[in-house]
């Protein structure tokens, strides 16, 4: 019988020596305490996140009714008569749209200038400091400042002016504008990060073909960092949707969305209203407390929206090869077709 030469079998059992599991017994006491604290904090955080999601899920699902999405809220002490949260959902959408419509172009423009031009340099440094400062200001401070600005008589067209000529400064327009300031630092940071990480070879290649810096930015650099712009925008969107202080102060906190004037869309935008966050605030036991179950349902919807946005960020930042699949990312492909002001 011919002998078949077998390939050597991998070692098994006690023949394998593995790195011993690390024991903390030999560590100094301080290190051991720190080690276990890290474990405790990490597990605690996971439990906390899990508890929030589970609690809101259980509470929210049990109170969620399809009718809540189509009925306007009504002022009532009885929960059964207080309607749904159609207006807050619409309000959230309007505020987010206005805020992003202002913050996205402005943020991309600021970041591009900071990254590609930076002249004069003292101004660039000042702008950087300003952006950092805005990023650190609590939204309630932005809100009262915004209210002061938009209550000026010459900005009365953005909100309601009462019989005595006092401008309220509270409307979807003004709240959206203040929200834009809130989202701006996130978009600037993300766009700058993208531009900084782009290779200088791309810029050189474009310059070597006789293209101006403006054309290079518009047709090469900004399209290349679409995912960064998109993720900054989605982060800003999440920040806008989640903010309560600006809504409470600058949006007027009315139960339903109240139009001002008669122009179809403009009247709503000039009027006051509420969003999901302010709806939760007013209906929870912390606010007027008249409809806690609906507050839970609204909180669940809000949580789902924010988690969805987080998912979008993950998708946009993860796969570089399949970047163009997302809807938002597709929208950003329009950037090369923006009018070129340099020509």
């Amino acid at each position: 019988m011919p002998t078949v030469e077998l390939a050597p079998a991998p070692p098994s059992g006690s023949a394998i020596a593995r790195a011993p599991r690390e024991r903390t017994a030999s560590w100094p006491l301080v290190d051991r305490i720190g080690y276990w604290l890290c474990w405790a904090v990490g597990i605690g955080l996971c439990l906390l996140a899990l508890a929030i999601v589970l609690y809101m899920f259980v509470k929210g699902i049990s109170y969620l009714r399809p009718s809540l999405f189509v009925e306007s809220p009504a002022s009532s002490v009885k929960q059964s008569q207080s309607g749904g949260f159609l207006d807050p959902i619409v309000g959230t959408l309007i505020v987010a749209t206005i805020g992003i419509a202002i913050a996205m172009p402005a943020g991309v423009a600021i970041a591009t200038w900071l990254s590609e031009y930076r002249r004069p340099s003292w101004l660039a440094r000042a702008v950087e400091s300003a952006i950092e400062m805005i990023a650190g200001v609590p939204s309630v401070v932005l809100a009262i400042f915004g209210l002061i600005i938009f209550a000026q008589p010459f900005l009365g067209f953005l909100s309601e002016t009462d019989a005595s000529g006092t401008v309220s400064g509270k409307s979807f327009f003004t709240a959206g504008a203040v929200m834009a300031v809130l989202a701006l630092p996130l978009i600037v940071a993300s766009t700058r990060e993208g531009l900084t990480q782009l290779s200088d070879r791309l810029r050189e290649a474009s310059f070597a073909l006789g293209r101006t810096p403006a054309t290079t930015i518009r047709r090469v650099l900004l399209p290349a960092i679409r995912p960064d712009i998109a993720s900054g925008t989605v982060l800003g969107l999440g920040r806008i949707i989640g903010d309560t202080a600006i809504i409470n102060i600058v949006l007027g906190l009315t139960v339903t969305n109240e139009g001002v004037g008669h122009a179809p869309l403009i009247s709503t935008l000039r009027g006051t209203g509420s969003t999901l966050t302010s709806y939760i605030y007013t209906n929870s036991p912390a606010g007027e407390g008249s409809a806690p179950q609906k507050a839970y349902a609204a909180a669940f919807v809000l949580l789902m929206v924010v988690l969805g946005l987080n998912g979008i960020v993950t998708l946009l930042t993860r796969s570089s090869g399949e970047r163009d699949r997302g809807l938002l990312s597709r929208a950003f492909r329009l950037i090369p077709y923006m009018p070129d002001l340099s020509r």
Partner: protein, 307 residues
């Protein structure tokens, strides 16, 4: 000088060829063995000379510096259409800087300074509008650097500005499609990518990407094409394809190539400039520089004594 006199743009005539800088004394003056010429002569003889040769650019007494560091010292050279000029030399010899100065790309580096004159068809390049100059003198870099967009868009980006502004529909006019496929043909890439011009350029292989960059540089219809070590990141087969391409292209465009690869310089170049520590040590035809170098430093370099 009499202001009515035209500038002396043809000061470097063909009869000054070869240019030989005074050699510096070298400590170990052992004469190296002359390079083997039998094979190289055969390779070179196989290539027909270009039909007509004419001077497009002229570099006259050019000094270039980054900050206080003069990296190019008093270099004078002609750049001719119908032939390939190879610049060889060790790292830090200033050849890339000199190449980049030909389309004023040195200017995007902060602290760059210059002296002397570079002309394109008799005009001082510093009096030309810089973006016009860079469209007439385009460049291909060491690393393939396609833009993160489709193959078509990469080439179309280099085309001259379209007369009317417009969106996607206008970008696909028949003239533009023709110009793009023409440039891809000239770069020898068309047959490989014709199936899907909408594919991302980043999905091409390295050699294809570099040929795409050459197509892009040709799409601008340049008069001079600058190549900065275009094959150093590529495999031998892609390198051979690109070298063939360079030899073909010299008929329609003046070509300057910087290379570390002496065999490559010999294979593609009609004239060779050897630079060392910022100085032009030797300039002459490929045969002169490789087979009968007149400077000791050239002999040392091409025999592998340094660099």
């Amino acid at each position: 000088m009499d202001p009515m006199m035209p500038p002396p743009v043809r000061r470097i005539a063909v009869d000054r060829d070869p240019y030989v800088a005074p050699p510096r004394p070298i400590a170990n003056g052992s004469a190296p063995a002359p390079p083997t010429t039998a094979v190289s002569a055969r390779l070179h003889a196989a290539r027909p000379a270009a039909a007509h040769v004419r001077e497009r650019m002229s570099v006259e007494s050019v000094w270039l510096a980054y900050g206080d560091n003069w990296v190019v010292r008093d270099v004078s050279l002609p750049v001719r259409q119908g032939e390939v000029l190879a610049m060889i030399g060790a790292s830090g010899s200033g050849k890339t800087t000199l190449l980049r100065s030909l389309n004023r790309l040195t200017e995007i580096t902060a602290g760059a300074a210059r002296s002397g004159q570079i002309t394109l068809d008799g005009q001082d390049i510093h009096e030309l509008e810089v973006n016009d100059l860079r469209r007439r003198v385009t460049m291909v870099f060491q690393q393939p650097n396609p833009f993160p967009m489709s193959i078509f868009d990469n080439v179309a980006y280099a085309l001259a500005e379209r007369p009317a502004r417009g969106g996607r529909r206008r970008r696909r006019s028949p003239e533009i499609e023709h110009a793009v496929s023409d440039a891809l043909h000239r770069a020898g890439l068309y047959d490989e990518v014709a199936g899907d011009l909408e594919r991302s350029a980043l999905r091409l292989s390295g050699g294809q990407q570099q040929r795409l960059c050459i197509a892009r540089a040709l799409a601008a219809e340049p008069e001079v094409l600058l190549l900065d070590e275009p094959c150093s990141a590529l495999d031998p087969i892609s390198t051979a394809t690109i070298e063939e391409l360079i030899v073909q292209l010299r008929e329609s465009v003046a070509i300057v190539i910087v290379t570390h690869n002496l065999q490559q310089a010999f294979r593609v170049a009609d004239h060779v400039a050897f630079m060392h520590l910022g100085e032009l040590v030797e300039y002459g035809t490929s045969e002169q520089v490789f087979d009968r170098p007149s400077a000791q430093r050239t002999r040392d370099y091409i025999s592998g004594a340094f660099g």
